[in-house]
């Protein structure tokens, strides 16, 4: 097995992980601050992708589409928070699961109503097309490197936002003691709307960036949503650092599992049989990892940290 291929697969894992981080960061922030499980987070991802595709088709510019995706997802998030989610903060998780489950149905059919039944077209911008050479001689798509770059920027930005700014201070305060910040005169309602919109915008950004290399269609958010939940549970719910570690772990394990397991079984099986068995195991692998981690650390790797 060549080194170049392994490096390439590691980068792929990293890129998947970074994308999951964008989803998971919003989810975990919303849970940490407001104590809310948001199943509709995948729908905001879809909103971002559709907004980007629609605006890019209309203006011809991917970059305007990207801006639109942030705006649309943040706006959708804010509206959902004001109309629905706000009423769910004091409720138990059960009501939250049901309400956000219902939101998925509304978002999916609503999007199909607006955009029709067929997948939309969205391509990567010309500036980022093409591939670059890696050490070891293989090629790697520039756009995927750019996704990794954006992910790192967002991670650093979130870290600075939470540790260095006034808003971040309030978010941290909100995670530890809700009554306290209200007593300090912070407008809690606005803070919650802001945090929700921020999480939504990150999901929308992920949707738009990924939409350019995948298929922009109704229902695209759900598989990612489940993976993002795995990520935040592994990392410890409410912890941004946990989300980052969890996301990279899931990204790399999933990618390498799909790549290595069939080869492993290929050592003692016929190739097509090895592909089937290895593929089946690879699809279960991250759930096995999650179960193992929770069996030993029932509150995830970084529980209780921001």
């Amino acid at each position: 097995m060549q080194l170049a291929l392994v490096i390439e697969q590691l980068l792929n894992g990293l890129q998947l992980g970074v994308m999951l981080f964008l989803m998971a960061a919003g989810l975990t922030l919303i849970f940490g601050v407001m104590g809310l499980i948001n199943l509709a987070h995948g729908s905001l991802y879809m909103v971002g992708a559709f907004a980007c595709a629609a605006v890019a088709a209309w203006t011809g510019s991917f970059w305007l589409g990207l801006v639109a995706s942030l705006a649309a997802a943040a706006a959708a998030g804010a509206v959902v928070e004001l109309l629905v989610v706000r009423r769910l903060y004091g409720r138990d998780h059960l009501d939250q699961v049901l309400a956000t489950f219902a939101l998925i149905l509304v978002f999916s059919e609503g999007t199909r109503w607006l955009f029709g039944s067929f997948p939309l077209y969205l391509d990567i911008p010309p500036l980022l097309s093409g591939a670059v050479s890696l050490p070891g001689g293989s090629q790697y798509p520039l756009y995927r490197l750019a996704i990794i770059g954006v992910g790192i920027l967002v991670a650093v930005g979130l870290y600075l936002l939470i540790s260095r700014t006034r808003l971040g201070m309030r978010i941290r305060a909100g995670e530890s003691d809700r009554e306290m910040i209200a007593a300090l005169g912070v407008d809690v309602a606005t803070l919650y709307t802001l945090v929700f919109a921020l999480g939504a915008a990150l999901a929308g950004l992920a949707g738009a960036m990924v939409g350019a290399i995948q298929s922009v269609q109704v229902g695209m958010g759900e598989p990612v949503l489940i993976l993002a939940f795995v990520v935040i549970v592994i990392g410890g719910i409410g912890s941004i650092r946990g989300a980052l570690v969890g996301a990279l772990l899931v990204g790399v394990v999933d990618t390498l599992g799909r790549f290595l397991l069939p080869q492993l079984f290929g050592l003692f099986m016929a190739p097509s049989q090895a592909g089937l068995v290895g593929g089946a195991l690879a699809s279960m692998l991250i759930y096995v990892v999650m179960a193992l981690i929770l069996a030993f650390r029932p509150r995830g790797l970084f529980a209780g940290e921001v």
């Binding site: 039944s117 997948p119 939309l120 229902g219 089937l276």
Partner: protein
């Protein structure tokens, strides 16, 4: 001479009587018109209704229900159509797993089912049924054609498909006609959206061509990522990933890809030209292969209705089996297992004059092609 005219007038009046007293016919259509796979179901529904409308036959009632791509819901709808709506015929299902859930139950109740798309191998072989007519293809057919093409043109093909029965059937069908070396054989996860790992393997494998079967969003994602990755090994695959419902979403990345199908918008016959024109005029888009198959299904039903009463099951089945209709695929007839014998073409994705992406036939892979399971069918 007079005799002749008299006979003609008599025949005409018979025909008129036949129309005037035609019995109402209820057709139940279960298809997917919501969720991620809705594009296919919408094409099947629209083309079917177009054909019924063109026929001017006012006695046909088509009941359309949405299965949301869920097998349980499809079974429930089938029960409703049989038990409550008392339909005479059924059609519409897109997906093999839904067909496997619905078709055996429906045909066992002596309802005739005509498939406008799915063709799982058990229904073509051991579980074939006199009440089941497949107007589309047996699932392996398009893959077999591509196997033949790759066998003629390449020496080392990399093949991949999702890890589920239709995916395994696809690679089995391909390998039935491809005899060269395999650069790799990979099963991906169903619903997978990122193919970087697989593309890296393709790049490293030294393949001279790639065959893939990834329907719906999976194919869109794979093709885009493949082209973006800078790998330029030629892509080949069945029409499902390059049909009119997904081409606009893939964009120019699909240009030049060879794919196999029993039909193409540019197929040169009068019926097809009229169909494509009418479909475009009515729905403002180019029809997909699913639309073509559904249009043929409707016209097959109409041809049989002209010959026999739908209440007389034996006569009606015989009329269907004769396949006495003008297919947009040119020639069409049924095999012993009531699956098609038809030509399968190799198409290439091209840009039409107005800039829209579409398919053009470049060669014929098979003439009068049946399927590998017909012998197992005891009917």
């Amino acid at each position: 001479m007079n005799k002749l005219i008299a006979a003609a007038v008599f025949g005409l009046s018979m025909g008129v009587c036949g129309l005037a007293f035609a019995e109402p016919v209820k057709i139940g259509m279960i298809t997917t018109t919501s969720g991620g796979g809705a594009g296919l179901g919408v094409d099947v529904r629209d083309a079917f209704q177009l054909a019924v409308k063109q026929s001017g036959n006012k006695d046909i009632e088509v009941i359309v229900e949405d299965d949301a791509q869920k097998p349980e819901l499809a079974v429930q709808l089938a029960d409703k159509m049989v038990q409550s709506d008392h339909v005479d015929l059924m059609t519409g299902i897109i997906w093999s797993n839904l067909a496997m859930a619905v078709v055996p139950a429906v045909t066992a109740q002596d309802i005739i089912y005509l498939s406008p798309n799915a063709g799982p191998s058990p229904l073509a072989g051991a579980q074939c049924n006199k009440n089941y007519f497949n107007v589309a293809y047996q699932n392996d057919n398009f893959h077999e054609a591509m196997g033949q093409y790759d066998n003629d043109n390449y020496k080392k093909t990399f093949i991949l498909a999702p890890n589920y029965p239709a995916g395994k059937d696809a690679l089995t069908g391909f390998k039935r006609y491809y005899k060269g070396e395999l650069a790799g054989e990979v099963y991906t996860q169903l619903g997978q959206t990122d193919y970087a790992a697989e593309i890296a393997q393709i790049r490293a494998s030294g393949a001279d061509s790639v065959f893939f079967f990834l329907p719906g969003g999976m194919g869109i994602a794979f093709t885009k990522q493949y082209v973006q990755s800078g790998v330029n090994t030629p892509l080949t695959g069945p029409a499902f990933s390059f049909s009119q419902d997904v081409l606009p979403a893939i964009g120019d990345a699909a240009l030049g890809v060879k794919n196999s199908a029993s039909w193409s918008p540019d197929l040169d016959n009068a019926e097809n030209k009229a169909f494509v024109e009418a479909f475009k005029a009515e729905f403002k888009r180019i029809p997909s292969v699913y639309a073509a198959q559904s249009y043929d299904t409707a016209n097959l039903i109409l041809s049989a209705l002209a010959k026999a009463s739908v209440k007389d099951k034996d006569a009606f089945r015989a009329a269907l089996k004769a396949a006495d209709f003008k297919s947009v695929r040119g020639k069409f007839k049924f095999n012993t297992n009531q699956h098609p014998i038809q030509d399968i073409y190799i198409r290439e994705v091209v840009k039409a004059e107005d800039g829209a992406l579409t398919n053009k036939i470049v060669s014929t892979a098979f003439t009068d092609h049946g399927d590998a399971y017909a012998e197992q069918c005891k009917m």
